[in-house]
Amino acid sequence: MAKIFQRPAALTGKAFHYCPGCTHGIVHRIIAQCIDELGIREDTIGVCPVGCSVFAYEYFNCDMIEAAHGRAPAVATGVKRVLPDRVVFTYQGDGDLAAIGTAEVVHAAARGEKITTIFINNAVFGMTGGQMAPTTLVGQKTTTTPKGRDRETTGSPLRVAELLSTVEGAVYVARVSVHNPASVIRAKKAIKKAFEVQLQGLGFAIVEVLSTCPTNWGLSPVEALEWLEKNMVPIFPLGEFRKPAEWDKNGTGEGASC
């Protein structure tokens, strides 16, 4: 019997606590698949955020650290500086990374810290009850923008991939989505590259993943995927924003279409 698709070894057996249809689960799985494929599970240390994925340490089958809200890049820096030959990744939401943790991620990038960051942009603070995130779309209703986000008083969505693309130390910056099978496969490719950047010691790598929060969006899981594609993708364009210069020379990057 050949396995076509099986639970990755880099996931524990524990069932996810996420809401039905929440794509946090998909992203967890593809990260685990990448870890398996790269054979780095026993070298890997993951850092979880505070957000819905706060329990990620129960799911990834490797050493794990729970960071304070927004500080995962700083925690990962501490680990990586002590253990430069290990693989360190952070998994962070848009409240965690793009609000309270803005300085930490910008400076991990600026230092060219050799870590991999997976950034889940679901346009909302999921865990705390659906408040506005820096990535919330203009007009989007949340519990703290009951009439929809108003550009005049609260501004417009922060585009993290674009922001970090201006930072030299951020050598791999991509934005992907998981709203259909093709995009999931592209997301996995990007995440794998983000780990490869670290394995090659090139610098900071981040993959922003557009993700759903059916619960706080007030949509069914399937509707949520559609809403993401229709509303988020135009505001948060997908693609690879930065790739290591080295790759252009030796062709490790498998093409820009992710």
């Binding site: 019997m1 050949a2 396995k3 249809g21 998909i26 259909n180 099978p181 496969i185």
Partner: protein, 72 residues
């Protein structure tokens, strides 16, 4: 031959597998599981082409697939 397993106890009935199965052979079961959800199930396993699209989209890693190997 493809074998598809639904780990029913992990299924949250989100319907993403249903939505994306190109063969449209996944449905929600009548009964509910321990978590209170109607789990997904395959109506006609023999039509499954083993594309694993359902598994790729499942947020709860509730689906696994195998293929009988032909030795010889």
């Amino acid at each position: 031959m493809v074998r598809i397993y639904f780990h029913e106890e992990r299924c949250k009935g989100c319907g993403l597998c249903v939505k994306f199965c190109p063969k449209e052979i996944i449905v929600m079961a009548e009964h509910i599981n321990a978590m209170g959800f109607h789990p997904a199930t395959v109506t006609d396993p023999s039509s499954c082409k083993g594309c694993a699209v359902c598994a790729w989209m499942c947020p709860d890693v509730a689906i696994e697939l195998e293929r009988d190997e032909v030795h010889g």
